[in-house]
């Protein structure tokens, strides 16, 4: 069972989608991002992003499991 990656704002434009599925499941959020950067030229490095798994912010070394939803969060601009 794959994981789902969600994109927002400029990252969604670059990825060309709001979300996509990835399998096999990478071990960590950092490993997932490393794999995605081989496909997309996001223009954001890992150091500029936050990551959430199943709607909660986590560290990049968090391990991933089948069916997780991973959100990549670029710099925000609300307010």
């Amino acid at each position: 069972m794959p994981v789902t990656v969600r994109y927002f704002a400029r990252m969604a434009e670059i990825a060309g989608c709001q979300s996509e599925e990835v399998s096999p499941v990478p071990a960590t959020a950092a490993a997932l991002f490393a794999r995605l950067t081989q496909v997309h030229s996001f223009g954001f490095g890992i150091e500029a992003l936050r990551v959430a798994v199943n709607d909660r912010l986590v560290g990049w070394e968090s391990s991933l499991h089948d069916g997780d939803e991973i959100a990549l969060i670029p710099p925000v601009s609300g307010g």
């Binding site: 969600r6 927002f8 704002a9 400029r10 434009e13 954001f44 150091e47 500029a48 992003l49 936050r50 959430a52 709607d55 909660r56 912010l57 986590v58 560290g59 990049w60 959100a71 969060i73 670029p74 710099p75 925000v76 601009s77 609300g78 307010g79």
Partner: protein, 159 residues
């Protein structure tokens, strides 16, 4: 019997009901109310803005707002906090964000309100896409937001 009350949410896809938000701060001990409103300006960095659009990571935006409100309440002697942020399409002059704080005294009301809007702009996953007079449409990604280190264990800036 436990009744599940409808949860008031931080994000709103309709114009902010500012009078109703203000009323939600009424309290017999509240001697001071401080309100911040962020409004869509007609210009940004010299370019004419014709409108803009906010999009959000809804669930995380709500939980981040809850976290920030709790942090502000813990750090300042305040009575009530209310906040609302627009998503969707906005025009110049529209209210994008409304933050109100009621307190017994004014100093903590000012401090909590200003801290909250700064924290929202730093942490809450909402993004703005501006439309300019020349037809361009640009996502904003403020480089001061989204702190590089993980914020999971709370506040990087003391409220």
């Amino acid at each position: 019997m436990t009744v599940a009350l409808p949860r008031v949410s931080f994000l709103s896809d309709t114009p902010l009901a500012t009078a109703e938000l203000r009323r939600s701060l009424e309290h017999r001990s509240a001697g001071a109310v401080v309100v911040f409103e962020g409004v869509v300006r007609a210009h940004h960095e010299g370019r004419r803005v014709t409108g803009l659009e906010y999009t959000a990571f809804d669930l995380l935006a709500e939980s981040e707002w809850d976290r920030l409100g709790a942090a502000a309440s813990a750090a300042h002697d305040v009575i009530e906090i209310a906040g609302r942020h627009r998503v969707g399409t906005l025009a110049v002059g529209d209210c994008a964000v409304w933050i109100g704080v009621a307190a017994v005294h004014r100093a903590p009301a000012f401090a909590a309100c200003e801290w909250l809007i700064n924290a929202i702009k730093r942490d809450v996953p909402i993004w703005k896409r501006e439309r300019y007079g020349d037809g361009r449409v640009v996502w904003r990604h403020d480089p001061c937001s989204a702190p590089p280190q993980m914020p999971i264990d709370g506040n990087r800036v003391a409220p």
